[in-house]
Each structure stands twice: as structure tokens, then as C-alpha cells.
């Protein structure tokens, strides 16, 4: 099985605080990996180090075996790593369709061909398909800012898939979403995983969501990996029980 992402010895110190202190894990092709852990365990910092938002103190990130440590977020994205943010991040004055075209355009041609080429970079059809897939057809020409929270969350996820990424990192996708919406989101993610073989890493608080969605789970505590394995294995791990239920 090919490893899409591999993180080796990742460390991030803020002054004396060791937010991430030597984390190793990998993600296999077609896998949905969950990363869980209590608040302040360093999982968001880990995410930001992987994605080039922060410069790691030490460690290495490999994408399909090639080192990508320290690349800008935009460069990483063009190599096929996509992400969503914990808080909603859509472009409010662009329409839903324009949001999706934007999400795909930088992967088409070069800057120069984009400047002189078509206004939609030839992505209108792809965007419409994505809109249909996420069931947002009736809102396609609305400004994203006018959508409801749940609709924006769907759009946010749709944008992450627009460029056909090798790997998608989802930062707390379930945050602030109600149950019905959560089910819809989960169903869509599973569908993409099933149909396109997309690979995910999900950071989540919501244990139920992670346990039911992910094929493998990494548990973090105090900047280190506490345990990893299938949801069932992890759930049975005494260290995890201690960390989660001990206090």
C-alpha cells in the first residue's frame, strides 16, 4: 500500500512549550485517518506544521515519498494537498460557483495561460458537478456570504475537493454542525472516499464521528502519539481510556 503522507519526528516548540514533541504517523492511499486528542494536545499545531502554516522545529513531511517540509501552503496545495479550516472559510462576495472555480483554477495551466485564457479557466462544468454532488444546485449563483452556516460548511468541504486532491486534511469538520447536517457531511465524505478513492486526515473532537468515519485513528496527548490503530483497538487501549476518561 502506498503511503500518501508520512510525518517523521515532527517537533514544534514555542519557546519552552513543546506543543508537538516528536510525532510519527503515515496515511495510506484511500484511507480515512482520524487524529484525536484532548484540547491542547498539539493536533492543530501538528496540522499547521504539516501544511506549511508553521515552520516545524524539527521533523520531516513526505508526500508520496518526496520531502515537502517547509513549502508554502499554496505550493503544497498545488502538489495535491487540500484542507479545510476549523472555522468557516469561504469567500463571501463570490457566488457558490465562483468559490468552486477559484478552488480549482490554480491547478489549471500556468498563471500566464490563465490570464489570457477563459474567465472560468474551463472549470464551470466541474464546478457544476461538484455543486450537484453536494446538492447545492439551487444556490449556485448566490453569494456564499448569504448561505446558511450548514450550507457554507458543505461549500467549504466541496472547495477542498475541487482540484481532485491526493490528500485532504479536515480540521474539525463536525464543529458547530448539527446532527442532521453532520450525517449529510459524513455521507458525502464517505461517498467521495468510496467513489474516488480520496485519502483523508480528519482532526476531530467528536469521538463518535471519528470512530464511525475513520478506518484508522491516531490518538495524541501532550504533543506525542499516545496510541494508533483501528477504532476498536484504540478504544480498548488503556492509555487512551486513561487520557480521555481519567479526568
Amino acid at each position: 500500500m502506498t503511503r500518501v503522507l508520512e510525518v517523521k519526528g515532527m517537533k514544534k516548540y514555542f519557546g519552552g512549550i513543546r506543543a508537538v514533541d516528536g510525532v510519527d504517523f503515515h496515511v495510506n492511499q484511500g484511507e480515512i485517518l482520524g487524529i484525536i486528542g484532548p484540547n491542547g494536545c498539539g493536533k492543530s499545531t501538528l496540522f499547521n506544521c504539516i501544511l506549511g502554516q508553521l515552520t516545524p522545529t524539527d521533523g520531516e513531511v513526505l508526500l508520496e515519498g518526496r520531502p515537502v517540509t517547509g513549502l508554502y501552503p499554496s505550493q503544497l496545495n498545488r502538489l495535491g494537498v487540500s484542507r479545510t479550516f476549523q472555522l468557516l472559510q469561504v469567500f463571501p462576495t463570490l457566488s457558490v460557483r465562483e468559490n468552486l472555480i477559484l478552488a480549482g483554477q490554480e491547478h489549471r495551466g500556468t498563471k500566464l495561460t490563465r490570464l489570457f485564457g477563459r474567465g472560468d479557466a474551463g472549470l464551470t462544468d466541474a464546478a457544476n458537478r461538484m455543486i450537484a454532488f453536494f446538492k447545492l444546485e439551487h444556490l449556485a449563483d448566490q453569494k456564499a456570504g448569504g448561505l446558511s452556516y450548514g450550507q457554507q460548511k458543505l461549500l467549504d468541504a466541496a472547495m477542498a475537493f475541487m482540484a481532485g486532491p491526493k490528500l485532504v486534511l479536515l480540521d474539525e469538520p463536525a464543529g458547530g454542525v448539527n446532527l442532521t447536517m453532520l450525517a449529510a457531511l459524513k455521507e458525502r465524505l464517505e461517498a467521495i472516499n468510496r467513489e474516488q478513492g480520496a485519502t483523508f486526515v480528519v482532526i476531530e473532537h467528536n469521538m463518535d464521528f471519528v470512530m464511525s468515519l475513520c478506518s484508522r485513528v491516531v490518538v495524541m496527548a501532550e504533543g506525542r502519539v499516545l496510541a494508533q490503530g483501528t477504532p476498536a483497538e484504540v478504544r480498548a487501549d488503556p492509555a487512551v481510556v486513561e487520557a480521555y476518561l481519567g479526568h
Binding site: 499554496s74 469567500f91 462576495t93 490570464l115 448566490q142 453569494k143 448569504g146 446558511s148 454542525v177 449529510a184
Partner: protein, 334 residues
């Protein structure tokens, strides 16, 4: 995409012939004022790209008009270079300087960026004033020739006005093309949420620098027209207060709206002339009008139009949402 004509393009294509013929009855003064309006609209269009679309607050646009004006004046008068070449050189030089000035924008944002660019504008003014060997210093640069293009003598007011109009239309179309291209979308993404944009592969550095450089180039182009329009330049019109006026022009017209610069430039450069009939207090009247306009429509005059349109489409969207409610039951966050 539908084949419906983009409304902004429609306005340009419609306005061009009207503006070609309408001022034919104007006297030299009227033609001069309308020409000035177009020239300043070009500069404002550039700033609108930098500020309105890409969200980078610049207080340096008058500096770039100055760079363009002096480049054109020096090249055409001192070195006898033809105007089209000088025009391109003015844009190119402003573009290059704009790239350099864009670098601080990678480091600082918001009002801090405005102050860095303000310092730059002051520097341009000081160079224009102090380097007499190059710019004529405080005495200025007089008898700047109006161009002769394809054998057409443009020294009289009406032909020159029409020439300015042609250049304005060409530059407007170029700007329109740029903004409807993926670049335009990337600029907007930069303004609205650069972190998210970066995560979608938008090259923040390049687009930031380009937003500055292209906006500055338009300033340089405007300067290349300003010099032969006035036929005289000195440092005064490029002082920092002029950069403030440019910013005001863009915001009052409607920052981030394609036609905003034309509306804004009308207010900043034509309205004061029209208000001359009110006598000595005309600048007080003008400032009051601008102030009231800003309080009524802080997003600019075209922002007001947009707001009305939004309200209409929201009502339509609400109806659609109601219709779709059964499908999305419960998905609305409270």
C-alpha cells in the same frame, strides 16, 4: 457560462461612442475637464485593483501618476521619444517600482501598509522637487508636447480628448479582461481571505506583488496622459495630499466595483469644477457633499446600487430557500 453580456462590459461599449460624440459642443475648458476626468479614472482604476479588488491599502497612487508623468515628459521632451513608447515606458517603470513597493505588503497589512506607501509617495514628491537636473525641480517642466499619432496632430482640445478616450477605453477593456480572468478571482480571494486562498493553491506572493504592480502601472499610464494634457508638470499635483484624494476617489465611487473609479473621479475632479458657481466656498461645499455621501453609502455610490440589487436577490433567494426547506430540514444553524 451564459452568453449574456457582462454589464460592466456593456457599459464600456455603450459609453465609448457616447463619450466620443457628446462633448463635441464643449469649449476647450469643458473638454479639458472631461479629459482630466478620464485620465484620473485610469489612475483610480489602477488603485481600485490594488485596493478594491486585492484589498491592499495604498496611499501611493499619486506617486505613480508622478512617475508616469515625469517619465513621459522627460522622454518626449528631452529625448524626443515618441509618445507611445514613452507611454509604455511610463507603465513599465511604474510596474517595476510597484513590484518593489509590493514587498512590504507581504509583511504588513492594513493601515501599516498605507503608511509605508505614504512614505513612498512623499519620497517621489521629494525627488521630483529636489532633483532639478532631471525633473526641473520646483520650476517644473514646461511645454510638454502633445503627441502626433499616425500623422494625426492631437494638440487641439477635441482630438486630444478623443485620443484620451481611446486610451481609456483600451485600458478599461484590459482591466475588465484581467478582472474576469482567474487572476481577478485570485485578487478577490486575496482581499477576502488570504489564508484560505493560499490553502487553495493561490500564490499569495505573486498575486500580491502583481496587484500592486498592475495597479501602479495604470497610475503610470494615467501620468503619461496627464503630462501632455496639462503640457506642464511640477511636483505639486503628486504631493501626498493627491494620494489621499486618489484613495478618496476610489472609496467614494465604490471600491471593488468595476465602474467605481469613473464615478469617483467624477466626484473628485469634475464636481469641484461644477461647484465653482457656488463661489468662494466651493471646496467646503464639495467636502460636505463627499462627507454626506460617505455617511449615506460607506461602500461608495456603486455600493448603494449593489445593496439595492442584493436586497432584491436575497428576497428571491429566501423564496428559493423556503422551497428547498424540506430537503435541508434542520441543516440551518441557529
Amino acid at each position: 457560462m451564459t452568453t449574456r453580456l457582462d454589464p460592466n462590459l456593456a457599459v464600456i461599449l455603450l459609453a465609448a461612442p457616447i463619450l466620443w460624440f457628446a462633448p463635441a459642443g464643449f469649449k476647450a475648458y469643458g473638454l479639458y475637464v472631461v479629459s482630466l476626468w478620464l485620465v484620473m479614472s485610469i489612475a483610480a482604476m489602477g488603485l481600485n485593483l490594488t485596493l478594491g479588488y486585492a484589498g491592499l491599502k495604498s496611499l501611493a497612487q499619486a506617486g505613480f501618476i508622478g512617475i508616469g508623468a515625469y517619465t513621459t515628459a522627460i522622454l518626449t521632451k528631452t529625448f524626443g521619444v515618441s509618445w507611445p513608447l514613452a507611454f509604455l515606458a511610463s507603465g513599465a517603470l511604474s510596474f517595476a517600482v510597484g513590484v518593489v513597493l509590493g514587498f512590504p505588503a507581504l509583511r504588513v497589512k492594513f493601515h501599516y501598509l498605507a503608511f509605508v506607501t505614504l512614505a513612498f509617495a512623499m519620497f517621489v514628491f521629494l525627488v521630483a522637487r529636489n532633483e532639478e537636473w532631471l525633473t526641473g525641480g520646483v520650476y517644473g517642466f514646461s511645454n510638454i508636447p502633445r503627441p502626433v499619432i499616425f500623422g494625426l496632430d492631437l494638440s487641439r482640445a477635441l482630438p486630444f480628448y478623443r485620443f484620451v478616450l481611446v486610451v481609456t477605453v483600451v485600458l478599461s477593456l484590459a482591466m475588465w479582461w484581467l478582472l474576469r480572468s482567474p487572476w481577478g478571482r485570485a485578487f478577490l480571494a486575496l482581499r477576502e481571505n488570504w489564508m484560505r486562498a493560499a490553502s487553495l493553491g493561490v500564490d499569495i506572493r505573486t498575486y500580491t506583488l502583481m496587484a500592486f504592480a498592475i495597479g501602479s502601472a495604470w497610475g503610470g499610464f494615467a501620468g503619461a496622459l496627464y503630462a501632455p494634457l496639462v503640457e506642464f508638470i511640477d511636483p505639486a499635483p503628486f504631493a501626498i495630499s493627491a494620494s489621499f484624494v486618489m484613495l478618496l476617489t476610489v472609496v467614494v465611487g465604490g471600491s471593488g466595483f468595476f465602474l467605481g473609479p469613473f464615478v469617483g473621479a467624477f466626484l473628485s475632479f469634475v464636481l469641484p469644477e461644477l461647484l465653482r458657481v457656488t463661489g468662494g466656498w466651493y471646496l467646503v461645499v464639495y467636502a460636505s457633499v463627499v462627507l454626506v455621501l460617505l455617511v449615506i453609502c460607506p461602500t461608495g455610490i456603486l455600493g448603494l446600487v449593489e445593496r439595492a440589487r442584493d436586497r432584491l436577490s436575497q428576497r428571491r433567494a429566501a423564496a428559493l430557500r423556503d422551497a428547498a426547506r424540506p430537503m435541508l430540514e434542520g441543516s440551518e444553524a441557529r
